[in-house]
Symmetry: C2
């Protein structure tokens, strides 16, 4: 199949949780390309049934490839969060047994290692994995301020500090986010996720760091250098904004063009209501090494 | 006063919370040098009253220097944790008013900035600040394994990864600790402290990362490069070991000679009882820049 044929075949969307899988489907379908959503049971929302779809369970790797084959899909997007599955409780189907050495290799190493392995494995079978931002670019955070409020000079300085932290950690395959308030690094995200990190900041501020009134500090999210952005792009949504507000932060800054927005309108409305800024910052292209 | 006179004058110990201030006092007094403990009210334990002592409140900077003068102390150790004080609620005495511009400068910047400023200020008045490890070296974690259990090969690899994380972050004045399990960075410490970080790891393992039985993963603590180790040395104690066990970790590794032990015997006994290893790892000398 040529590249052109691939672009005209239905786009398969392997769907984890949240609203992004349907947002990608809506955007792609509006452009005239058919989609087929493959929902992971226990993860994807029932809303995916508004589109042509197939449900699969964790471990049904045989069924996954049979569906891609049957629907004539050669391009696929993997989108939406998943609960890190407990490999011990997964029942693998026939397709999976053949891939067992591959699956075992996934149990070692950081997130990026796992995801790159998945990507290589699927691409090795002749499929093409597309980033959600490639097929639906309007879901990416644009450059510039999205809200009524803009970052202050102090916020800008906090953004620079937080970007430095995220970059240093990203090189070690850790986290995608940090919180900095008035030059002080409050929290760094590792395995716990952004929501848990913001909750911790809320606690810290309540108990230890309340000094003067007013919102201060920023949440910064950016992909790790070398992160497999096609399948693991950082995401923000209304809950990110609400959690940032609960942590007493002044706003949220993310790498423009490299972070996805879930429920863009609701997110911006929430930020405006809560008095937070939301901004896309252009990162320099990653240096080699 | 000459260096020799300084070494024979009573050692002042400015005491925050925990058992270390008395441990330092006991060790120094056993060596024949008199001590005078200056306990910060609301922070230091009543046990300090076993030694010659004076209580001061946050903000009584005049009384602090009057005590040092009155007791003939020229050398001082600052030891024990403190709650980050809320500057808005501190009543400053006359000595403090003269130092107000200095105090205001403390409200900006990371922890290291604050501590270095304090050190410079006190030394500018002709006092000499000693590290607790300098005056009581037996409180420092030695090189090598302290427990019945030793780190496995897998643990050794996790230790290397965690040291890399701590080093990268330390350069940005963030945290002193990280948790790595089977190559995966579970948590990175910023403002929340080691105990809160370990609690989070315990939660993570309960809900998301329980895969196979057995303890796995390490807590690593090391001073930040450039950290003011005389007044802000990382510390471990029995509670660190207990929290690490609750997080399902196999052990604790710290930079030898650069981390203090609170209640050494109780800590090692707890580790042996819980089946954890405890080891001091020699770090390479910090590179410049």
């Amino acid at each position: 199949m040529s590249q052109t044929d691939m672009a005209h075949s239905p786009l398969a969307i392997i769907a984890g949780n949240g609203t992004l899988p349907c947002a990608v489907a809506a955007s792609v379908a509006a452009g005239g390309r058919p989609v087929h959503i493959i929902g992971i049971r226990g993860e994807a929302l029932p809303d995916i049934e508004r589109y042509p779809h197939t449900w699969i369970k964790w471990g049904e790797i045989g069924k996954l490839f049979a569906t891609l084959e049957g629907e004539g899909c050669r391009d696929l997007v993997i989108i939406g969060g998943v609960t890190r599955p407990d490999l011990a409780n997964i029942k693998f189907d026939l397709g999976a047994i053949k891939t067992l050495p591959f699956i075992l290799s996934l149990t070692i190493g950081g997130d990026d290692h796992v995801l790159s392995s998945v990507v290589r494995y699927i691409e090795g079978k002749g499929y093409r994995i597309r980033g959600a931002g490639d097929v639906a670019p309007q879901l990416l955070v644009p450059k510039g301020v999205l809200t009524q409020k803009s970052p202050s000079k102090e916020d800008e300085a906090d953004i620079v500090t937080a970007l430095r932290v995220v970059e240093a950690l990203g090189r070690l395959d850790v986290g995608q986010a940090a919180v900095v308030a008035r030059g002080y690094v409050l929290a760094v995200e590792a395995a716990e996720g952004t929501d848990a990190m913001l909750e911790r900041c809320a606690e810290l501020r309540k108990h230890r760091l309340r000094r003067k009134g007013g919102l201060a500090g920023v949440l910064v999210k950016a992909p790790k250098p070398g992160q497999e952005e096609r399948v693991d792009m950082p995401t923000i949504g209304p809950h990110t904004v609400r959690n940032a507000a609960a942590a007493g932060l002044a706003g949220v800054a993310v790498a423009s063009g490299r972070v996805l927005m879930a429920e863009r309108e609701a997110m911006i409305a929430a930020a405006d209501e809560l008095g937070l800024f939301l901004t896309g910052v252009q990162l320099p292209p990653p240096a080699d090494g």
